[in-house]
């Protein structure tokens, strides 16, 4: 009998198992594939490894602008994949070590729920006082004829590419699609992005999303907004434009990045009366499902679908199951898009505030107010936007686009988390010269 069995060893599951293990609980973690889940194996980490290489390639191409002459750089795709695999392997071992130190037993195999406190893995049954479901998500497969053809990749298979494609059609202008669009564009692929909605990076603040579109178009990425992909035949993507006109684009590869769906099937959820749908298992802010003793965290809940949100949700669930009151404050969960330039955000968007009828003040400054930003980025462009309540000046949202913002968004997250007011935030000293000074200036600009 375990205190806790966690199903799924992604950033939600393994961190929760580690946390419970450190609390001295008897914990088991079930994983059918690699430790680390989507994030480590086919998500955040490999994508960032790829983007690191593409940025270096781009830097080499633009080195002359900084007074450095290099020869014509070459992008060695197999070597890039090899490096990515090395990084992933190192981190995977790290996860293994963490779990070992926390005394977490790792059970390999596919878990199926038998009852609210029993699971079955490879014919053996295990019992626990608490079950935490952290089964994650998988790439969505929209009902587009031909989407599973041989030239179509998804965010899992794309990491195995062994050469630089000449052309790439990306279906989906969300965070994942945009990161890959940047990557391929930087290494010399001709990229087209198809997005059903009239804007890209839906969920980001409208000003940031508009700026991003402008920057990426200028880089040479072709966008088809309000476009409906009708079918894929061989290398050709057929789509209807906003005006309803039919058109087509040919590409060496087609990348399906239309989002991710929670893994809720084939777990035995339906036998237990657990409240779930194809959009995920319903949870409270405490991580509880409708069944006592059954908890869920991460992508499988369909809530934020971000690695760090999953981690926090898992920790919260563990805290609550062992008597420590806690809840996820979703309003203060930051998000980052690792495009070039990066986008980082936390809290409410201006649109959300408007729709909620909340009175707010805003301040927008160009990233270039921070001297360091100009130093680092020849032709750099970006902005930082701060939204705060009109009565007390409490910081409600911070949205930034421009390289470097991913590293300082946590400061804004603390401000949102603690409802810090502009007057107080103005007393914080930001180090000089850093890109974070743009945040300081944006806060100082609230009147």
């Amino acid at each position: 009998m375990y205190d806790l069995i966690v199903v799924g060893a992604g950033p939600g599951g393994y961190e929760a198992a580690d946390h419970a293990g450190k609390m001295g609980k008897k914990v088991a973690l079930v994983e059918k594939e690699q430790l680390g889940g989507t994030c480590l194996n086919v998500g955040c980490i490999p994508a960032k490894a790829f983007l690191r290489s593409s940025r270096l390639f781009r830097d080499c191409c633009e080195a002359a602008a900084y007074g450095v002459r290099v020869g014509a750089p070459e992008f060695d795709m197999p070597a890039v994949v090899e490096r990515k695999n090395r990084v992933v392997a190192t981190l995977g071992k790290g996860v293994q070590g963490i779990l070992k130190r926390a005394g977490v037993e790792v059970i390999r195999g596919y878990a199926r729920l038998i009852s609210r406190n029993t699971i079955e893995v490879a014919g053996s049954r295990y019992q626990a006082a608490n079950l935490l479901l952290a089964t994650g998500s998988r790439p969505a497969v929209p009902p587009i004829p031909g989407i599973q053809s041989e030239h179509t990749l998804d965010s899992n298979t794309v990491f195995a590419l062994q050469h630089v494609p000449a052309t790439m059609a990306i279906i989906g202008g969300g965070y994942i699609g945009l990161e890959f669009a940047c990557f391929f564009q930087e290494i010399g692929t001709q990229v087209s992005v198809f997005e059903m909605l009239p804007q890209i990076a839906t969920g980001a603040d409208e000003e940031v999303s508009a700026r991003m579109l402008q920057i990426l178009e200028r880089k040479g990425i072709e966008f088809h907004l309000s476009a409906k992909v009708l079918r894929i035949e061989g290398h050709t993507v057929y789509f209807a434009t906003q005006e309803g006109r039919q058109s087509s684009v040919e590409a060496e590869y087609i990348l399906n990045s239309t989002g991710r769906v929670p893994v809720v099937d084939d777990l035995g959820l339906e036998n237990l009366g657990i409240d779930f749908s194809s959009k995920g298992i319903r949870t409270s802010e405490q991580g509880k499902t409708n069944i006592p003793g059954l908890w869920a965290c991460g992508d499988v809940t369909g809530r934020r679908m971000l690695a760090h949100a999953a981690t926090r949700e898992g920790m919260v669930a563990v805290n609550n199951m062992f008597g420590r009151k806690d809840r996820v404050r979703y309003n203060a969960v930051p998000a980052v898009v690792y495009t070039h330039p990066e986008v980082a955000m936390v809290g409410r968007t201006e649109e959300e505030l408007r729709n909620a009828g909340i009175k707010y003040k805003k301040s927008v400054v160009p990233m270039a107010v921070a001297g360091r930003f100009l130093v680092e980025h020849e032709d750099g462009t970006g902005l930082v936007k701060v939204l705060c309540g009109s009565d007390f000046g409490e910081i409600l949202g911070v949205h930034a686009i421009g390289n470097g913002c991913s590293e300082f968004i946590v400061a804004a997250a603390i401000m949102v988390e603690t409802e810090m007011c502009v007057a107080d935030a103005n007393e914080i000293v930001f180090p000089h010269p850093t890109v974070s000074e743009s945040l300081k200036e944006a806060i100082a600009g609230v009147h």
Binding site: I358, F392, E394, E417, T418, E419, M420, C421
Partner: protein
């Protein structure tokens, strides 16, 4: 030769001390070993003595100042000697102005910590043990005034350390939430933010952008009403009195031009005053477990004003004729409605009457006005059937609702008082000399 006496370093971690009290003034002659000034660390107090015989030539700091260790405090020497070489560069931190009654700090100095609702009560904060000057300073700077804090100093004196420990035991309040507190919002016991931090979303009175913040007067009324319910054991007795006498008298007053206008309310109030003179047990205040007899009958009356409920007080009603009572009541209600009433006329009552009869209310539960222990509600005059000598008669009858604090007044004495009030009302024509 003048010598300066420095702030001593009283411990390894002590960086500064507070000037608690000067025992000697400039110009006074002291001998070596005599205490000149008392100082305090956050834990306890010490005395600083004269090191040599001489005259106190200069004191460099005021009481309440926070002075770094090794800074000259005062100079001893012969009159006329120059003290300037000893004068410290720093003036120390400025003493907390007017420590006892200093006003609320503004929003920028808002405390990150505010005590929970149950212990937040400005009107009751005087019951705590004496605060050391250092503790007082801490309280002012942190806007932290707990109702009770156990002092670890001599005689239960509250030291800074005691206050600091208590301060950190309360949940933190976010920047936005503390500004709401400044605006009168209540602090809940628990917060849902980081480390239990109290967020604005945890505050009950926060209704987001769609709600309207209540006025300061309303906030006061709200607090008083809540206190009234929380701090007392209220119960209400309902009865009615034959109102024939009242109506007859009222008719006579109306008809006469010689007397000022006296209404039913004034007549009933007058009867209540007379009853209270006979039953002084209800004309008391209940404070901190003690019964304080009223020195005179000071009648508060509930007054509906544009700003909300106000309760003006007619002082020494026991010495007034009904005409005087009526005149004073009218004066005060006019002032209350026009927002001209002085704060003194809104406090000090020993008994309250509240009249909803004019709205046709037949009975209600008046809420006590603590520390008073009784309040009488006056209801509408209605026709009532009574049996007299085997016959049913219809009489005019006035309803009375008496709320009492069961902590002090049991049911039977309460009922006896209400009976007495009824008798007075029924014999109002004999009692009131117009």
């Amino acid at each position: 030769m003048a010598v300066a006496v420095e702030m001593p370093k009283l411990g390894n971690t002590v960086e500064e001390c507070l000037i608690a009290r000067w025992l000697k003034q400039e110009g006074q002659v002291v001998s070596a070993g005599e205490t000149v000034v008392e100082i305090e660390t956050d834990k306890t107090s010490f005395e600083v003595a004269a090191t040599v015989d001489g005259t106190v030539l200069a004191k460099f700091f005021e009481q309440g100042a926070l002075v770094p260790v090794f800074t000259p405090l005062f100079v001893l020497g012969n009159p006329g000697e120059n003290v300037e070489p000893f004068r410290p560069q720093s003036k120390g931190s400025t003493p907390a102005a007017n420590v006892a009654g200093s006003p609320m700090p503004n929003a920028r100095n808002a405390s990150p910590v505010v005590q929970p609702v149950a212990t937040t009560d400005a009107s009751l904060t005087n019951s705590t043990a004496p605060l050391s000057p250092r503790a007082q300073r801490f309280a002012e700077e942190h806007n932290f005034h707990p109702q009770t804090v156990s002092g670890s100093g001599p005689g239960g004196r509250v030291l800074e350390g005691d206050l600091r420990a208590l301060y950190h035991s309360f949940p933190k309040v976010s920047g936005a939430a503390s500004r709401r507190v400044q605006n009168g919002a209540e602090v809940p016991r628990e917060g849902s933010g980081i480390g239990g931090m109290i967020l604005s979303s945890d505050m009950a009175s926060d209704r987001g952008a769609s709600g309207t913040r209540i006025s300061g007067v309303r906030e006061k009324i709200a607090r008083r009403m809540r206190e009234a319910v929380i701090s007392t054991a209220q119960y209400t007795l309902h009865a009615s009195a034959d109102a024939c006498g009242l109506l007859m008298l009222r008719a006579r007053i109306k008809a006469s031009s010689a007397v000022p206008d006296i209404n039913i309310n004034d007549l009933v109030t007058f009867c209540v005053v007379q009853a209270l003179l006979e039953v002084p047990d209800l004309n008391v205040l209940f404070v901190d477990g003690k019964i304080l007899p009223g020195r005179g009958v000071h009648i508060g009356f509930a007054c509906d004003t544009p700003r909300g409920l106000l309760v003006p007080v007619v002082r020494n009603a026991q010495a007034m004729t009904v005409a005087e009572l009526a005149t004073r009541t009218k004066e005060l209600s006019a002032q209350a409605v026009q927002v001209k009433i002085s704060a003194d006329d809104l406090s000090g009552g020993t008994f309250t009457v509240s009249n909803l009869g004019v709205f046709g209310i037949e009975s209600f539960t008046p809420l006590l006005n603590p520390p008073q222990v009784a309040i009488l509600g006056i209801n509408a005059i209605q026709v009532k059937a009574v049996r007299r000598e085997g016959k049913v008669e219809f009489i005019d009858s006035i309803g009375l609702s008496l709320t009492l604090d069961h902590q002090i007044i049991d049911g039977a004495p309460g009922a006896r008082f209400l009976k007495l009030v009824r008798e007075k009302i029924e014999n109002v024509e004999q009692i009131c000399t117009i």
